[in-house]
Symmetry: C2
Subunit: 171 residues, 2 copies
DNA sequence: TACTACCTAACAATCATTGTTGGCTAGGCC
DNA sequence: GGCCTAGCCAACAATGATTGTTAGGTAGTA
Protein backbone atom coordinates (compact mmCIF):
# COMPACT_ATOMS: atom_id res chain seq x y z
CA UNK A 1 0.00 0.00 0.00
CA UNK A 2 1.28 3.44 -0.92
CA UNK A 3 1.06 6.52 1.26
CA UNK A 4 -2.34 8.24 1.45
CA UNK A 5 -1.35 11.09 -0.85
CA UNK A 6 -0.36 8.66 -3.58
CA UNK A 7 -3.50 6.62 -3.10
CA UNK A 8 -5.57 9.76 -3.49
CA UNK A 9 -3.81 10.53 -6.74
CA UNK A 10 -4.18 6.96 -7.94
CA UNK A 11 -7.90 7.02 -7.33
CA UNK A 12 -8.28 10.28 -9.17
CA UNK A 13 -6.29 8.94 -12.09
CA UNK A 14 -8.58 5.95 -12.27
CA UNK A 15 -11.63 8.16 -12.33
CA UNK A 16 -12.65 7.10 -8.84
CA UNK A 17 -13.77 9.67 -6.36
CA UNK A 18 -11.79 10.69 -3.35
CA UNK A 19 -14.26 10.83 -0.51
CA UNK A 20 -13.56 11.57 3.15
CA UNK A 21 -14.38 7.95 3.93
CA UNK A 22 -11.78 6.67 1.50
CA UNK A 23 -9.18 9.11 2.69
CA UNK A 24 -9.74 8.02 6.25
CA UNK A 25 -9.35 4.38 5.32
CA UNK A 26 -6.15 5.15 3.41
CA UNK A 27 -4.73 6.77 6.52
CA UNK A 28 -5.76 3.94 8.80
CA UNK A 29 -4.20 1.35 6.53
CA UNK A 30 -1.10 3.41 6.15
CA UNK A 31 -0.84 3.62 9.92
CA UNK A 32 -1.32 -0.14 10.16
CA UNK A 33 1.43 -0.76 7.67
CA UNK A 34 3.66 1.74 9.33
CA UNK A 35 3.19 0.41 12.78
CA UNK A 36 2.70 -3.34 12.90
CA UNK A 37 3.12 -3.71 16.66
CA UNK A 38 1.01 -0.80 17.81
CA UNK A 39 -1.97 -1.00 20.09
CA UNK A 40 -4.68 0.65 18.02
CA UNK A 41 -7.35 -1.70 16.69
CA UNK A 42 -6.19 -1.70 13.10
CA UNK A 43 -2.52 -2.39 13.82
CA UNK A 44 -0.66 -4.88 11.68
CA UNK A 45 -3.02 -7.04 9.63
CA UNK A 46 -6.39 -5.60 10.42
CA UNK A 47 -9.73 -7.25 9.88
CA UNK A 48 -12.49 -5.23 8.27
CA UNK A 49 -13.97 -4.83 11.69
CA UNK A 50 -10.74 -3.45 13.13
CA UNK A 51 -10.52 -0.87 10.37
CA UNK A 52 -14.16 -0.03 10.99
CA UNK A 53 -13.58 0.37 14.72
CA UNK A 54 -10.75 2.77 14.13
CA UNK A 55 -12.56 4.63 11.37
CA UNK A 56 -15.65 5.32 13.42
CA UNK A 57 -13.56 6.96 16.11
CA UNK A 58 -12.97 9.75 13.68
CA UNK A 59 -16.09 9.42 11.58
CA UNK A 60 -18.89 7.96 13.67
CA UNK A 61 -21.34 7.67 10.80
CA UNK A 62 -19.15 5.62 8.49
CA UNK A 63 -20.69 2.29 7.63
CA UNK A 64 -19.13 -1.13 7.85
CA UNK A 65 -20.34 -1.72 4.32
CA UNK A 66 -18.21 1.13 3.05
CA UNK A 67 -15.17 -0.23 4.85
CA UNK A 68 -15.66 -3.65 3.30
CA UNK A 69 -16.18 -2.16 -0.10
CA UNK A 70 -13.09 -0.01 0.05
CA UNK A 71 -10.94 -2.84 1.36
CA UNK A 72 -12.15 -5.11 -1.40
CA UNK A 73 -11.49 -2.47 -4.02
CA UNK A 74 -7.99 -1.92 -2.71
CA UNK A 75 -7.36 -5.64 -2.67
CA UNK A 76 -8.57 -5.92 -6.24
CA UNK A 77 -6.28 -3.07 -7.23
CA UNK A 78 -3.40 -4.93 -5.62
CA UNK A 79 -2.79 -2.29 -2.98
CA UNK A 80 -3.73 -4.71 -0.23
CA UNK A 81 -3.47 -8.44 0.11
CA UNK A 82 -6.48 -10.32 1.28
CA UNK A 83 -5.52 -12.96 3.84
CA UNK A 84 -7.53 -15.87 5.12
CA UNK A 85 -5.45 -17.42 7.84
CA UNK A 86 -8.19 -19.45 9.45
CA UNK A 87 -8.83 -16.97 12.22
CA UNK A 88 -12.51 -16.66 11.45
CA UNK A 89 -12.43 -13.42 9.51
CA UNK A 90 -10.49 -12.01 6.60
CA UNK A 91 -7.49 -9.84 7.22
CA UNK A 92 -6.04 -7.23 4.93
CA UNK A 93 -2.33 -6.79 4.59
CA UNK A 94 -1.08 -3.37 3.52
CA UNK A 95 2.32 -4.84 2.88
CA UNK A 96 2.16 -6.19 -0.64
CA UNK A 97 5.69 -7.48 -0.90
CA UNK A 98 6.02 -11.26 -1.00
CA UNK A 99 6.11 -12.50 2.54
CA UNK A 100 4.64 -15.10 4.86
CA UNK A 101 2.92 -15.20 8.21
CA UNK A 102 3.12 -16.37 11.77
CA UNK A 103 -0.33 -16.72 13.31
CA UNK A 104 -1.33 -17.03 16.94
CA UNK A 105 -3.72 -19.95 17.20
CA UNK A 106 -5.27 -18.44 20.29
CA UNK A 107 -5.90 -14.78 19.55
CA UNK A 108 -5.36 -14.64 15.81
CA UNK A 109 -2.54 -12.11 15.96
CA UNK A 110 -0.46 -12.12 12.79
CA UNK A 111 3.20 -11.34 12.39
CA UNK A 112 5.01 -10.97 9.11
CA UNK A 113 7.76 -13.38 8.15
CA UNK A 114 10.14 -12.13 5.53
CA UNK A 115 11.98 -15.05 4.06
CA UNK A 116 12.62 -16.42 0.64
CA UNK A 117 10.74 -19.66 0.29
CA UNK A 118 10.63 -19.48 -3.47
CA UNK A 119 12.53 -22.77 -3.64
CA UNK A 120 9.56 -24.64 -2.25
CA UNK A 121 7.97 -26.72 -4.96
CA UNK A 122 5.31 -29.32 -5.29
CA UNK A 123 7.09 -32.65 -5.66
CA UNK A 124 7.07 -34.00 -9.18
CA UNK A 125 3.79 -35.43 -10.34
CA UNK A 126 1.75 -34.29 -7.36
CA UNK A 127 0.68 -31.19 -9.25
CA UNK A 128 -0.22 -32.89 -12.51
CA UNK A 129 -3.09 -31.08 -14.17
CA UNK A 130 -2.87 -28.21 -11.71
CA UNK A 131 -1.47 -24.90 -12.78
CA UNK A 132 0.39 -23.96 -9.62
CA UNK A 133 1.40 -20.55 -8.30
CA UNK A 134 3.71 -19.67 -5.45
CA UNK A 135 3.76 -21.41 -2.10
CA UNK A 136 2.23 -19.71 0.90
CA UNK A 137 3.84 -20.62 4.17
CA UNK A 138 1.97 -20.20 7.44
CA UNK A 139 3.53 -20.86 10.81
CA UNK A 140 1.13 -21.35 13.68
CA UNK A 141 1.95 -20.91 17.31
CA UNK A 142 1.23 -18.94 20.44
CA UNK A 143 2.10 -15.29 20.75
CA UNK A 144 3.79 -13.98 23.87
CA UNK A 145 0.60 -12.51 25.29
CA UNK A 146 -1.30 -15.74 24.91
CA UNK A 147 1.54 -17.74 26.39
CA UNK A 148 1.34 -15.75 29.62
CA UNK A 149 -2.42 -15.56 29.51
CA UNK A 150 -2.74 -19.32 29.20
CA UNK A 151 0.12 -19.87 31.59
CA UNK A 152 -0.28 -23.09 33.58
CA UNK A 153 -3.61 -24.04 32.12
CA UNK A 154 -3.70 -26.67 29.40
CA UNK A 155 -4.35 -25.67 25.78
CA UNK A 156 -8.04 -25.09 26.61
CA UNK A 157 -9.83 -28.05 25.13
CA UNK A 158 -12.93 -26.69 23.41
CA UNK A 159 -14.99 -29.41 25.06
CA UNK A 160 -15.75 -33.11 24.61
CA UNK A 161 -16.30 -34.89 27.88
CA UNK A 162 -15.64 -31.63 29.62
CA UNK A 163 -17.95 -31.24 32.62
CA UNK A 164 -17.15 -27.59 33.16
CA UNK A 165 -17.79 -26.39 29.64
CA UNK A 166 -20.81 -28.46 28.85
CA UNK A 167 -22.67 -29.48 32.00
CA UNK A 168 -25.01 -31.78 30.14
CA UNK A 169 -22.40 -33.63 28.14
CA UNK A 170 -20.65 -32.62 25.04
CA UNK A 171 -23.14 -34.42 22.74
CA UNK B 1 -8.77 -41.36 10.59
CA UNK B 2 -9.01 -45.03 11.38
CA UNK B 3 -11.42 -47.50 9.81
CA UNK B 4 -15.02 -47.36 11.01
CA UNK B 5 -14.73 -50.48 13.14
CA UNK B 6 -11.82 -49.01 15.06
CA UNK B 7 -13.59 -45.69 15.45
CA UNK B 8 -16.56 -47.49 16.92
CA UNK B 9 -14.35 -49.22 19.41
CA UNK B 10 -12.54 -45.99 20.24
CA UNK B 11 -15.81 -44.21 20.96
CA UNK B 12 -16.95 -47.03 23.22
CA UNK B 13 -13.67 -46.99 25.07
CA UNK B 14 -14.06 -43.28 25.67
CA UNK B 15 -17.54 -43.77 27.05
CA UNK B 16 -19.12 -42.15 24.03
CA UNK B 17 -22.12 -43.70 22.42
CA UNK B 18 -22.07 -45.33 19.05
CA UNK B 19 -25.16 -44.11 17.27
CA UNK B 20 -26.26 -44.85 13.72
CA UNK B 21 -25.52 -41.23 12.85
CA UNK B 22 -21.95 -41.49 14.05
CA UNK B 23 -21.39 -44.79 12.34
CA UNK B 24 -22.64 -43.35 9.08
CA UNK B 25 -20.29 -40.40 9.38
CA UNK B 26 -17.37 -42.72 10.12
CA UNK B 27 -18.10 -44.60 6.93
CA UNK B 28 -18.44 -41.48 4.83
CA UNK B 29 -15.16 -40.11 6.10
CA UNK B 30 -13.45 -43.41 5.60
CA UNK B 31 -14.74 -43.44 2.05
CA UNK B 32 -13.45 -39.91 1.54
CA UNK B 33 -10.04 -40.85 2.84
CA UNK B 34 -10.00 -43.98 0.78
CA UNK B 35 -10.99 -42.35 -2.42
CA UNK B 36 -9.67 -38.82 -2.79
CA UNK B 37 -10.53 -38.41 -6.47
CA UNK B 38 -13.98 -39.90 -6.47
CA UNK B 39 -17.13 -38.17 -7.57
CA UNK B 40 -19.35 -38.48 -4.51
CA UNK B 41 -19.95 -35.25 -2.60
CA UNK B 42 -17.72 -36.05 0.34
CA UNK B 43 -14.67 -37.12 -1.67
CA UNK B 44 -11.25 -35.95 -0.64
CA UNK B 45 -11.41 -33.09 1.84
CA UNK B 46 -15.11 -32.70 2.46
CA UNK B 47 -16.83 -29.69 3.92
CA UNK B 48 -19.43 -30.28 6.61
CA UNK B 49 -22.03 -29.70 3.98
CA UNK B 50 -20.57 -32.33 1.69
CA UNK B 51 -20.61 -34.88 4.48
CA UNK B 52 -24.17 -33.86 5.25
CA UNK B 53 -25.21 -34.22 1.63
CA UNK B 54 -23.83 -37.72 1.48
CA UNK B 55 -25.18 -38.67 4.89
CA UNK B 56 -28.73 -37.68 4.14
CA UNK B 57 -28.77 -39.92 1.09
CA UNK B 58 -28.71 -42.82 3.47
CA UNK B 59 -30.35 -41.20 6.49
CA UNK B 60 -32.68 -38.44 5.34
CA UNK B 61 -33.52 -37.23 8.83
CA UNK B 62 -29.93 -36.63 9.97
CA UNK B 63 -29.35 -33.02 10.91
CA UNK B 64 -26.56 -30.76 9.77
CA UNK B 65 -25.98 -29.91 13.42
CA UNK B 66 -25.13 -33.52 14.19
CA UNK B 67 -22.71 -33.65 11.30
CA UNK B 68 -20.95 -30.51 12.50
CA UNK B 69 -20.84 -31.79 16.06
CA UNK B 70 -19.40 -35.13 15.07
CA UNK B 71 -16.80 -33.60 12.78
CA UNK B 72 -15.73 -31.21 15.51
CA UNK B 73 -15.50 -34.02 18.02
CA UNK B 74 -13.39 -36.09 15.65
CA UNK B 75 -11.15 -33.11 14.96
CA UNK B 76 -10.74 -32.53 18.67
CA UNK B 77 -9.83 -36.17 19.13
CA UNK B 78 -7.23 -35.81 16.42
CA UNK B 79 -8.91 -38.24 14.05
CA UNK B 80 -9.53 -35.47 11.54
CA UNK B 81 -7.71 -32.33 10.69
CA UNK B 82 -9.69 -29.17 10.43
CA UNK B 83 -8.59 -27.11 7.43
CA UNK B 84 -9.30 -23.52 6.62
CA UNK B 85 -7.85 -22.96 3.20
CA UNK B 86 -9.67 -19.75 2.46
CA UNK B 87 -12.33 -21.41 0.35
CA UNK B 88 -15.19 -20.02 2.38
CA UNK B 89 -15.99 -23.03 4.48
CA UNK B 90 -14.05 -25.40 6.69
CA UNK B 91 -12.84 -28.66 5.32
CA UNK B 92 -12.08 -31.81 7.23
CA UNK B 93 -9.15 -33.97 6.31
CA UNK B 94 -9.37 -37.65 7.26
CA UNK B 95 -5.70 -38.03 6.50
CA UNK B 96 -3.93 -37.02 9.69
CA UNK B 97 -0.39 -37.61 8.55
CA UNK B 98 1.71 -34.51 8.10
CA UNK B 99 1.08 -33.18 4.63
CA UNK B 100 0.31 -30.03 2.71
CA UNK B 101 -2.24 -28.85 0.18
CA UNK B 102 -2.78 -27.64 -3.31
CA UNK B 103 -5.94 -25.56 -3.58
CA UNK B 104 -7.88 -24.50 -6.65
CA UNK B 105 -8.52 -20.79 -6.34
CA UNK B 106 -11.57 -21.11 -8.53
CA UNK B 107 -13.56 -24.08 -7.27
CA UNK B 108 -11.88 -24.79 -3.95
CA UNK B 109 -10.84 -28.31 -4.83
CA UNK B 110 -8.04 -29.58 -2.59
CA UNK B 111 -5.30 -32.01 -3.42
CA UNK B 112 -2.86 -33.49 -0.95
CA UNK B 113 0.83 -32.76 -1.26
CA UNK B 114 3.09 -35.20 0.47
CA UNK B 115 6.47 -33.65 0.87
CA UNK B 116 8.86 -33.07 3.68
CA UNK B 117 9.00 -29.36 4.36
CA UNK B 118 10.22 -29.79 7.90
CA UNK B 119 13.34 -27.82 7.05
CA UNK B 120 11.29 -24.66 6.64
CA UNK B 121 11.93 -22.38 9.58
CA UNK B 122 11.13 -18.89 10.61
CA UNK B 123 14.27 -16.84 10.04
CA UNK B 124 16.16 -16.00 13.21
CA UNK B 125 14.56 -13.33 15.35
CA UNK B 126 11.34 -13.05 13.39
CA UNK B 127 9.67 -15.45 15.79
CA UNK B 128 10.90 -13.87 19.01
CA UNK B 129 8.27 -14.26 21.70
CA UNK B 130 6.24 -16.62 19.58
CA UNK B 131 6.17 -20.30 20.36
CA UNK B 132 6.13 -21.69 16.83
CA UNK B 133 4.89 -25.01 15.53
CA UNK B 134 5.39 -26.58 12.15
CA UNK B 135 5.05 -24.76 8.86
CA UNK B 136 1.96 -25.25 6.77
CA UNK B 137 2.50 -24.90 3.07
CA UNK B 138 -0.37 -24.09 0.74
CA UNK B 139 0.00 -23.97 -3.02
CA UNK B 140 -2.72 -22.15 -4.89
CA UNK B 141 -3.53 -22.63 -8.52
CA UNK B 142 -6.13 -23.75 -10.99
CA UNK B 143 -7.26 -27.34 -11.23
CA UNK B 144 -7.59 -29.03 -14.60
CA UNK B 145 -11.37 -28.69 -14.64
CA UNK B 146 -11.25 -24.98 -13.94
CA UNK B 147 -8.52 -24.44 -16.52
CA UNK B 148 -10.76 -25.81 -19.24
CA UNK B 149 -13.88 -24.21 -17.82
CA UNK B 150 -12.24 -20.76 -17.77
CA UNK B 151 -10.49 -21.41 -21.05
CA UNK B 152 -9.99 -18.23 -23.04
CA UNK B 153 -11.70 -15.91 -20.58
CA UNK B 154 -9.53 -13.82 -18.28
CA UNK B 155 -9.23 -14.63 -14.55
CA UNK B 156 -12.71 -13.19 -13.90
CA UNK B 157 -12.17 -9.83 -12.24
CA UNK B 158 -14.62 -9.62 -9.34
CA UNK B 159 -15.59 -6.10 -10.43
CA UNK B 160 -14.41 -2.53 -9.96
CA UNK B 161 -15.23 -0.25 -12.79
CA UNK B 162 -16.89 -3.16 -14.42
CA UNK B 163 -19.99 -2.06 -16.33
CA UNK B 164 -21.36 -5.55 -16.73
CA UNK B 165 -21.14 -6.62 -13.13
CA UNK B 166 -22.17 -3.40 -11.48
CA UNK B 167 -24.31 -1.29 -13.77
CA UNK B 168 -24.46 1.61 -11.37
CA UNK B 169 -20.80 1.81 -10.54
CA UNK B 170 -18.77 -0.35 -8.29
CA UNK B 171 -18.90 1.95 -5.30
C1' DT C 1 -36.20 -54.45 31.69
C1' DA C 2 -35.40 -50.06 33.59
C1' DC C 3 -32.44 -46.16 34.19
C1' DT C 4 -29.60 -42.46 33.11
C1' DA C 5 -26.26 -40.06 30.77
C1' DC C 6 -25.61 -38.99 26.53
C1' DC C 7 -27.28 -37.76 21.74
C1' DT C 8 -30.11 -35.97 18.35
C1' DA C 9 -33.37 -33.08 15.51
C1' DA C 10 -35.45 -28.90 15.29
C1' DC C 11 -35.10 -24.30 15.74
C1' DA C 12 -33.11 -19.99 16.81
C1' DA C 13 -29.16 -17.18 17.01
C1' DT C 14 -24.66 -15.44 15.73
C1' DC C 15 -20.95 -13.79 12.89
C1' DA C 16 -18.75 -12.32 8.71
C1' DT C 17 -19.83 -10.72 4.51
C1' DT C 18 -22.48 -9.17 0.50
C1' DG C 19 -26.82 -7.38 -2.06
C1' DT C 20 -30.00 -3.47 -2.69
C1' DT C 21 -31.63 1.08 -2.83
C1' DG C 22 -32.66 5.89 -2.40
C1' DG C 23 -30.47 9.94 -1.39
C1' DC C 24 -25.99 12.55 -1.39
C1' DT C 25 -21.60 14.51 -3.31
C1' DA C 26 -17.06 14.87 -5.80
C1' DG C 27 -15.35 16.59 -9.65
C1' DG C 28 -15.83 18.03 -14.46
C1' DC C 29 -18.05 21.66 -17.11
C1' DC C 30 -20.04 26.07 -17.92
C1' DG D 1 -19.75 29.81 -8.15
C1' DG D 2 -23.55 26.82 -9.72
C1' DC D 3 -25.05 22.57 -12.32
C1' DC D 4 -25.00 17.89 -13.57
C1' DT D 5 -24.26 13.28 -13.30
C1' DA D 6 -21.68 9.24 -12.43
C1' DG D 7 -20.21 7.44 -8.47
C1' DC D 8 -20.59 6.91 -3.68
C1' DC D 9 -22.53 6.13 0.80
C1' DA D 10 -25.55 4.77 4.92
C1' DA D 11 -29.16 2.02 6.07
C1' DC D 12 -31.23 -2.11 5.82
C1' DA D 13 -31.96 -6.72 4.38
C1' DA D 14 -30.18 -11.06 3.07
C1' DT D 15 -26.97 -14.79 2.74
C1' DG D 16 -24.04 -18.71 4.14
C1' DA D 17 -21.42 -21.01 7.57
C1' DT D 18 -21.45 -22.26 12.07
C1' DT D 19 -22.89 -22.64 16.90
C1' DG D 20 -26.32 -22.32 20.99
C1' DT D 21 -30.49 -24.28 23.14
C1' DT D 22 -33.80 -27.53 24.39
C1' DA D 23 -37.07 -31.18 24.72
C1' DG D 24 -37.43 -35.72 23.63
C1' DG D 25 -35.11 -40.19 22.23
C1' DT D 26 -31.75 -44.05 22.71
C1' DA D 27 -27.22 -46.60 23.73
C1' DG D 28 -25.22 -48.97 27.09
C1' DT D 29 -25.21 -50.51 31.63
C1' DA D 30 -27.10 -52.44 36.04
Amino acid sequence: MRPPAEMTQLFRNLGLKVTPQRELIFEILWGADDDPAASHPAAGHPTADAVFAEARQRMPMISLRTVYQTLNDLAYMGELHHLDLGTGSSRYDPNTEVHHHLVCTSCGKVRDVFADYSAIRVPGGAASGFQVGAAEVVFRGLCDDCQTRLNGSPPVPPALVSPTNQPKGEY
